[in-house]
Amino acid sequence: MAGYLARRLLWVVALLLAVSAITFAIFYTLPSADPAAMRAGRQPTPQLIAQVRENLGLDQPVYVQYWRYMRDLVLHFDFGFSYQSNAPVREQILDRLPATLSLTGGAVVLWLAIGLPVGVISAVRRRRWPDRLAMGLALVAISAPVYWLGLVALYLFADDIGRFPLLPGANSYEPISQDPAAWLGSLVLPWLVLAASFAAFYARLLRANLLEAMSEDYIRTARAKGLPERQVVLRHGMRAAITPIVTVVGLDVGILLGGAVLVETVFNVPGIGRLAYDAIRTADLPVIQGTVLFGAFFIVVANLVVDLAYAWIDPRVRTA
């Protein structure tokens, strides 16, 4: 077990190295705005741009820049400074992290609370009207682009522009430490929007897996023992069907922690996703690198956690 963990951690490191190198490579090979020009202000002279470039260290060859970046990162946990604002990248990211955590955490709870029961009911009432209705709605929710859903939600419910002004609209995020009620209210819409397509997907996934689990022989045995049907479904069927769900939850959370760019943009939640989007727009390489690495880190860790959870759920995996 220790050996397994050690190997996985080595892989984590190798992966993050690869991600950082690839990000650098992409930034330098694909056309983008010139960060020096963007930094230099309006109508900069060529000399000013060149000056700025030298200040930022952009005149150095790519591999030198990469080396410098990695050295600072590994030795000092220093992600560098934003080209745009000169603010330290690490602080920027850590500032934004709570918002992303709030958004992700709430959405996960919501989509599991909706998606799982719907999946179970659909499976148990297969082909009857609850199933067909649920799966139909799910298909719509999955197909609808999340930013469209967000805009529609704002249009309908936002307290400033909405038709039925029930909930706070965009730009209303408050950290929980300042005003818990406002924090909660500001996240309800983004949570619902983000959870919508995930809940739909999970409902469909669980339905499929549960149907398959319920056709297994051990379900027949459970019934033959005289177990009430509810226990057959929940204790025997679900236990088997939940494994792929656990895997997917882990991966989805890992991805979302890297920033749900679209939702954060539509609702103007100051999270990592929004930060990444702005950084890309302004060709702010250190910030881009920082957010990408953060995102990669969460995903890789999530993968590891999921693998361990899988082994805990399915005892057959442990002995392999």
Partner: protein
């Protein structure tokens, strides 16, 4: 009064190709403390017959299944649920897929106990260990915490049997319990079933395609073909004087250790019939070497064999002809 009396059982499934009559008019009885073997090949309806009496089979069910006087098929789902795993228990064919892979064996056994008995978890677990010991699992106190995949095939099947015995059933249905096992393990399991049956006075219905298993374990035998019983007899009579051409076919086509090696196998020609469009008249007639014209139209009923108590056969040939044919060499 017989422990279980099945009358006119019919089970129909609706399939894409049309209605499939898996069981078509089966009547049999199981006496307390005796073993009934139901023998047939795939598609004969043997498993469906047993499972249908327990309400474990989807589809349209007609007929009666009286257990100690109560018609199981007329019970409410809740009443039926209370019978399952309690007065009547089932052991299935493949213990690896029939036990839940994620739960420990002891936990599954304890669950079987707690469904029908109001006992604490500790008591149920103790009972699980006791049951495992009863079925011959060595070191039951340790094995009780094993997962199914950690046990050998024979141990798993013993655990399944232990689980079935959890609430002292009066009737045990064993659906191909040894088919997935090696022959030495099979012998052990059959011996175990025999011992348990004698010790507890439990009735057993054993469903199998293997006539050898039936010979070892059963007191009475019912031979099924295409959803119907074609012959019924005490086990010694079935082997000594079988009456139905299908039974003859089975006996003649099986290689056996107790006949000369060079004896030719005589296969039954053709294939088992479709249950969606069964043959008219006697269902076996397309494959019967002794078929006559009326057999294609008239359906034989299960009738007693004259002079042979407890022996019945569904065949249109007259008894004297049958006796003569059985003594002749195969065609």
């Amino acid at each position: 009064m017989a422990l279980l009396e099945v009358e006119g059982l019919r089970v129909r499934f609706d399939t894409e190709d049309g209605p499939l009559q898996a069981v078509d008019g089966v009547s049999l009885s199981v006496e307390a403390g005796r073993v009934l073997g139901i023998v047939g090949e795939s598609g004969s309806g043997k498993s469906v017959t047993a499972l249908a009496t327990m309400g474990l089979v989807p589809g349209r069910i007609e007929g009666r299944a009286r257990f100690e006087g109560r018609d199981l098929l007329a019970l409410s789902p809740e009443e039926m649920r209370r019978v399952r795993g309690h007065e009547i228990a089932i052991v299935f064919q493949d213990p690896l897929s029939s036990l839940h892979p994620f739960y420990r064996v002891g936990r599954q056994l304890a669950e079987a106990v707690r469904v029908h008995q109001d006992v604490s978890r500790r008591a149920a677990r103790a009972r699980a260990v006791e049951l495992l010991g009863l079925v011959g699992v060595p070191e039951p106190a340790e094995r009780v915490d094993a997962y199914p995949h950690q046990l050998s095939g024979g141990m798993r099947q013993r655990a399944m049997i232990a689980m079935a015995l959890a609430n002292d059933p009066r009737l045990l249905i064993a659906d191909e319990p040894t088919t997935a096992l090696d022959v030495t393990v099979q012998a052990q399991i059959l011996a175990l079933l025999r011992r348990l049956q004698e010790e507890r006075g439990m009735a057993i219905v054993i469903i199998t395609h293997d006539l050898g298993v039936v010979a070892e374990l059963a007191d009475d035998v019912a031979v099924m073909y295409a959803g119907q019983i074609v012959e019924r007899a005490p086990v010694e009579r079935l082997f000594a004087a079988p009456e139905h051409p299908y039974t003859w076919g089975l006996l003649r086509s099986m290689p056996r250790l107790d006949v000369p090696r060079e004896r030719e196998l005589v296969p039954i020609p053709g294939r088992p019939p479709s249950l969606v469009h069964p043959p008219g008249g006697c269902r076996f007639h397309p494959r019967c070497p002794y078929v006559r014209d009326p057999h294609r139209e008239v359906e034989p009923a299960l009738e007693p064999v004259p002079g042979d108590e407890g022996h019945a056969v569904a065949c249109l040939l007259d008894p004297a002809t049958r006796r003569r044919l059985w003594r002749e060499p195969a065609p």
